[in-house]
């Protein structure tokens, strides 16, 4: 069978790239949201899809990144985009500290703990922890990002920032998947006793999966803060975590194209259903059930990795 995927991907990328020139600001902003959630979904995919850890608290790391950016930008006027690495770092360090004691929990026990995590973070933000989060008002007056002297303010501008970052994410994560690290996560997802018995430090890899996912969620938080210019605790509630969780599972665990498609469906469909007015979420719920029934392993499950045939010296290069 001839592989049509590259053609589809090329058409998709081309259409996406041209979209802001044909769509109005609203639809471009819908695409921006899709892009943002695609980044979040991809970062959660490392933890949930590849390492198989039931993590439903990703919004906590997203929030940490967004608040890091918001607090430092509004108090010290440091340009927003410069804070992106720092936002990632804060979320990553937090993940390292938080995940360590809970990483040995299994399945659903980890699930509820991560739900607890996102609730604790949200309640801390509402209660103005350390007096720096602005309570339920959140933080406002975050400045617009600038890139090479160009001020990013309109949806079309953000489109290129967000999808540019999404493209970088895809590029790097694709390589990560097809590496020693990516395989190690899959081993421990399939059978962590066997993985440990094959010499893989499973606890370490679970932790690193959390950290990598959190760093990316933190950076996505940075973009979100820049885009909204105001952030409030309610933007990071448990429901946000659920959305990310659904994006990964609906699209296909461990599949980059799947997760991006998942983001289109979960974030984009409710916008398409606006004609149903108050019934739109009802329709959306029913469609989610239907999609899961017809594609039980997600819509685009990952394809097996390909390895160059024997005696490969030009190899090491994945699909």
């Amino acid at each position: 069978m001839k592989d049509v995927r590259p053609v589809i991907y090329a058409v998709f990328c081309g259409a996406l790239l041209l979209a802001p020139f044909f769509l109005n600001a609203y639809w471009v902003d819908v695409l921006n949201n899709v892009g943002l959630y695609a980044i979040l979904g991809l970062s959660l995919n490392i933890i949930l899809g590849h390492a198989g850890l039931f993590h439903m608290g990703h919004a906590a790391f997203y929030a940490m990144g967004a608040y890091t950016t918001a607090i430092i930008n509004t108090s010290y006027q440091i340009p927003v985009l410069w804070l992106m690495p720092l936002s990632g770092l804060v979320a990553g360090v937090a993940a390292l500290v938080i995940a360590r004691p809970i990483i040995h929990l299994r399945g659903d026990y980890l699930l509820i703990v991560t739900i607890g995590l996102v609730e604790i973070v949200r309640i801390a933000l509402i209660n103005n922890v350390f007096g720096i989060t602005g309570g339920s008002n959140g933080i406002f007056g975050i400045s617009r990002p600038e890139l090479f002297g160009f001020r990013i303010r309109r949806p079309e501008h953000f489109f290129f920032l967000i999808w540019g970052f999404a493209a970088i994410t895809v590029f790097l994560f694709h390589r990560l998947e097809n590496s020693r690290f990516g395989r190690a996560l899959n081993y421990l997802r399939e059978d962590d006793v066997a993985a440990e018995g094959s010499g893989i430090n499973t606890a370490h890899y679970k932790l690193i999966a959390f950290v990598v996912g959190a760093v990316w969620a933190g950076m996505a938080g940075n973009i979100f803060a820049a885009k909204m210019t105001i952030i409030a605790p309610e933007s990071f509630n448990f429901w946000e975590s659920v959305i990310m969780f659904m994006i990964v599972l609906l699209g296909g665990r461990g599949s980059i194209p799947g997760v991006i498609l998942g983001a289109f469906l979960i974030v984009g469909l409710p916008e398409l259903f606006r004609q149903f007015a108050t019934a739109r979420m009802l329709v959306f719920g029913a469609i989610m059930v239907a999609m899961m029934i017809f594609r039980t392993e997600g819509i685009l499950p990952p394809r097996p990795r390909r390895y160059p045939a024997a005696v490969a010296d030009g190899g090491g290069d994945g699909p």
Binding site: M246, M281, G285, A286, M292, I293
Partner: protein
């Protein structure tokens, strides 16, 4: 000390409702290893159906308060059980062979569907149960004023739990449910109709959730279409706390969760109440990774 006991009863009242909902989670989980995220919404459906039945049939004209409650409870349990069974047939059975998480997404979709269906049918405003169904007086126990309704709530939940426990332990169907929970394949080989067991579990769990919804409606008066989400999450927490899949665990977890909440609010901080609850939960799970009564699964190597 008075205050402590007062808060303890406050916590137990809330906790008994969590426990009742948690039973549904834990039963379904025991057999299917599925977290039924739509369970909280079945609870909300129970609350709304109870209101509809109460107002359309004008039950309180013919029956005394206890009669109303019992008739309502039976009707609500029956109806919600049917909804639960349909949910299983439509949204979960096709996914039985798939990865466990696939069914979770289906459950979330069903949850969104139910919640919005309630909003469309009943409207977005709060709905209120009539005030004159249950007696308002309080009874005095050891110098405490405890509202009679609260005792009734506590009593009903405990009765339901005991009944369920006996059902699971003593009856043939109960034995089949336990067998299917331990090993579905083996149960099938022993001639147990696993599909039927699952169907029964999806009748009983939602029925209990529905009756919990009715109790919330009767006791607190106010219901809204988003209530299932909050209660569902709390009850899921309770089930995990007790050790998911374990029926006494769900009871203990529910009651304990209610008490932790009340004590957290009483002695630490009201605003941080839910955060405190989760911190306690995390601390307990770090020490006992499979919950209070959950079995410790040693790694079979």
């Amino acid at each position: 000390m008075d205050l402590f006991l007062q808060q303890l009863t406050n916590g137990l009242a809330v906790g008994s409702i969590y426990a009742l909902i948690a039973l549904g989670y834990t039963m379904v989980y025991g057999v299917l290893k599925l977290i039924n995220f739509a369970h909280g919404d079945l609870f909300a459906i129970g609350a709304y159906l109870g209101l509809t039945l109460l107002t359309t049939f004008g039950l309180s004209q013919y029956l005394g308060p206890m009669g109303v409650v019992i008739v309502l409870a039976v009707m609500v349990m029956g109806l919600v059980a049917v909804v639960g069974a349909v949910l299983e047939r439509v949204a979960y059975r096709p996914l039985r062979q798939a990865h466990r998480l696939s069914a979770v997404v289906s459950a979330m979709g069903a949850s969104i569907f139910f919640q919005n269906a309630l909003m469309l049918v009943y409207g977005a405003r709060y709905k209120v149960y009539p005030h004159d169904i249950l007696p308002k007086n309080a009874v005095s126990i050891m110098g405490f004023e405890i509202p009679l309704v609260r005792l009734l709530v506590l009593l009903t939940s405990v009765l339901m739990m005991v009944a369920l426990y006996l059902f699971i332990q003593k009856t043939r169907i109960g034995t089949a449910i336990r067998a299917a929970a331990i090993d579905q394949r083996a149960a099938k080989l022993m001639g147990i109709n696993v599909d039927r067991v699952i169907m029964i579990v999806f009748l009983i769990g939602p029925a209990l959730g529905g009756v919990a919804g009715l109790m919330v409606g009767l006791y607190y008066g106010q219901i809204n279409f988003t209530m299932g989400w909050m209660y569902g999450l709390k009850a899921f927490t309770a089930a995990i706390l007790g050790g998911i899949g374990n029926i006494p665990g769900a009871m203990v977890g529910g009651l304990l969760l209610g008490v932790i909440e009340a004590m957290g609010a009483a002695y630490i901080s009201i605003a941080w109440k839910d955060a405190i609850t989760f911190m306690v939960l995390i601390a307990i799970l770090i020490v006992r990774p499979t919950g209070l009564l959950g079995e410790r699964v040693a790694d079979k190597v």
